[in-house]
């Protein structure tokens, strides 16, 4: 970040972008589309492969979260001289470690420690 840049950002409301009606409506329409497609997909029964449906649905969720961050939360690298972005990236890293780690560890706990549960679990999946 150059000195001039930091300077103007500092004095002009910390680089806050207030957005416009057009940007909000664009974000809203994108969100509606990104919500409707996964709902429609699951309600229609999904793809042949369940994991493909799951990955598609999660992909739409990530896209919609990005749309919300850009159009509704007005996030960019310049806000608060970059500290907003930095704290967000740090949080995302922790969240990914936490979620992936918990699911990974507990999945192995289930498969290795409680073999008698497996049968019940599979029935649960099938229902």
């Amino acid at each position: 970040m150059s000195a001039e840049h930091a300077h103007t950002a500092h004095h002009q409301d910390h680089g806050h972008d207030h957005g416009s009606h057009a940007a909000y409506i664009k974000g809203f329409l994108l969100s509606v589309i990104l919500t409707a497609i996964p709902f429609g997909l699951v309600m229609a029964g999904g793809f042949e492969s369940r994991s493909l449906t799951a990955v598609t649905v999660m992909g739409f969720a990530v896209a919609q979260i990005l749309v919300h961050m850009v159009y509704f939360l007005h996030m960019n690298g310049k806000q608060e001289e970059g500290w907003t972005m930095l704290s967000t990236i740090f949080t995302i890293v922790v969240v990914v470690i936490l979620l992936a780690g918990s699911l990974w560890v507990m999945y192995h706990m289930n498969t290795n420690m409680m073999p008698q549960m497996d049968h019940e679990l599979m029935q649960g999946f099938g229902s």
């Binding site: 809203f28 969100s31 996964p38 709902f39 309600m43 449906t53 509704f72 922790v94 679990l121």
Partner: protein
Amino acid sequence: MSHVVTDTTTDNLGRYWELKPHHHPEGASTSLGFWVYLMSDCLMFAVLFAVYGVLGTSFAAGPGPKDLFDLGLVAVNTGMLLLSSITFGFAMLAMFAGRQGATLRWLGVTLVFGLCFLGIELYEFQHMIHLGAGPQRSGFLSAFFTLVGTHGLHVTFGSIWLITLMVQIARRGLGPENQRRMICLSMFWHFLDVIWIGVFTFVYLLGMI
């Protein structure tokens, strides 16, 4: 001579760091501080999502997602929250334009959508508990009620905050203090919408596949 050299050094340093002490206007760091709070809130939700991920298949021979969830209702609920997000955006634009009446009207519309969301969610909870699928039924339902209920509690407190802010704006106008509060509440409100994307994807859609 040495004076000049020091000056250019500080100048060079100043390119990357602000060395001179400077005055911060009151509340200048509020939005960053509030954002850091939201990130810590995000970590709390991540823990609840992880709990749901781990316990989400522990049905204890009780009802599963396909027996309980109504995707149509969830879609309507998602629409309510999405609409409240855009109307809050319009309230922010009216505020920056200095139009107090329009700001209050858009905030009122936002509140109605938020209350509709809460009403539908409470109906869903009541319906599930009525079916005997309360939080004490199984690990899956405990995790479900904790995760979705925590989000609902956030929306509840956001609505209370919204009402108090409407009263403050009606009484004291759109001064810098109220603008700052509006910026914080708008971040909170949009953040809850982002969490809801995770909830409807992870809990409802993946549960129904």
